[in-house]
Amino acid sequence: MDAGQLAVIAGPNGSGKTTLLQALSGLSLLASGSRIYQGSSELSLWLKESHYLGHKLGNKGNLSCFENLQFVAQVNETSVTSSAISAVLEKAGLAGYEYQHANDLSAGQKKRLALSRLLLLNKIYWLLDEPFVNLDYAGCDWLYEIIEKHISQGGSVILTAHDQKKIHELAHHHITLEFPEEVHES
């Protein structure tokens, strides 16, 4: 994948979209094949430049939105100021929720909190598993906008999506996963 590109992975349920993303992210060990980034399969370099967001959002329920983002920044060794965290939350539509515990948010807001990590860490590669699920119309538009902006700035995004027409139109690569034609039983 080149810089500034978007790849959309589609396919029926159970065809392996999440498995593929997790393999790309570095979470799961590869049974075969390899993950090459900048000519090397070294995982640490790739982890530095990529951020994976899966079905499990990774918010800590009894920490506030602010504390969640603060932890993510610290553990990624990204230095950010408190006002930068507040600004990111505001962009994600969570202004005023800084001190609300993540447990008390609605499903869509939890998703927004998780997505706001992308803006906070500002990594080059975004790997997003069903990022549009649970978001309202405004949320989908917001996500579409930040993805468009990210790729226009030279970032790259790989995501799985179903019926998001707009995102499919924006994509440079379409990957469709299918079940094998026939399964041989022995």
């Binding site: 997790q22 992210s25 570095g26 979470l27 799961s28 060990l29 640490s44 982890l47 530095k48 990529s50 951020h51 994976y52 899966g54 079905h55 499990k56 959002l57 990774g58 918010n59 800590k60 329920g61 009894n62 920490l63 504390e67 932890f71 993510v72 610290q74 553990v75 990624n76 060794e77 990590r117």
Partner: protein, 220 residues
């Protein structure tokens, strides 16, 4: 910095979910009140078994908390967040053990004298009791990270965790309870304490590596 961030987060999470902290203490208190009832005996009988009871209660009450060291993070996905942050996994495991020790190990250690009093543990034994638990509670937390990492994706893995790490903890119990027992008999506990220190050093050096390997295998 990463170490500090993860420890701080875990302590904060435990502090807000108070049950994490007082659950082992309530457990100890409930069990210890049953001994006089069950034994129906006076102070002397209780004092005789006191070193073993205090130690076994400290061990068991910690054991029930070990499952969640990695499990909560696995379930809400925050494990992915710090594993993919590029943080070294042994360091992550060591951070988790430290946080667990701060929120469970220390309270359990400080509560042991209370159990001792209720069991009529002789006066001269309290110093060694605290010292033995000061050496042992970090071992519980460190081995706990290994056990918890092994069962992270198993539903109701608590029993399996106990079966897995009990054999590893039995030498700790033998030396720890042995140390306290020696003091009740008026002997020096130094030998037992040194063996306990050896166990602690071993756990400190090997457990984070083992926990990191288990996490790597279980993250699918």
């Amino acid at each position: 910095m990463r170490f500090g961030a993860l420890v701080k987060r875990d302590v904060l999470v435990s502090w807000r979910k108070k049950s994490n902290i007082y659950q082992p203490l309530v457990f100890q208190l409930l069990i210890v009140t049953m001994f006089p009832l069950g034994l129906g005996a006076g102070a002397q009988t209780l004092a005789k078994i006191a070193p073993a009871v205090v130690w076994i209660l400290a061990l068991l009450s910690t054991l029930i908390t070990l499952e969640n060291i990695f499990k909560d993070d696995y379930e809400d996905g925050s494990l992915d967040v710090y594993v993919l942050s590029g943080m070294s996994l042994p360091l992550a495991a060591f951070s988790k053990a430290t946080a667990h020790w701060l929120t469970t190990g220390i309270p359990v250690m400080l509560f042991a004298p209370v159990i001792g009093v209720l069991m009529h543990l002789p006066e001269q034994s309290y110093g060694v009791l605290l010292l033995s638990l000061l050496l042992a509670t970090p071992i519980f937390s460190l081995l706990g990270t290994v056990g918890s990492a092994l069962i992270v994706n198993i539903k109701n893995g608590g029993m399996l965790l106990s079966v897995l790490i009990m054999p590893l903890l039995s030498p700790v119990l033998i030396f720890g309870a042995g140390a306290v027992l020696e003091t009740t008999l008026g002997n020096s506990a130094l030998g037992h304490l040194l063996l306990l220190l050896g166990c602690a050093v071993l756990a400190l050096t090997l457990a984070p590596l083992a926990a990191a390997a288990a996490i790597k295998v279980n993250l699918e």
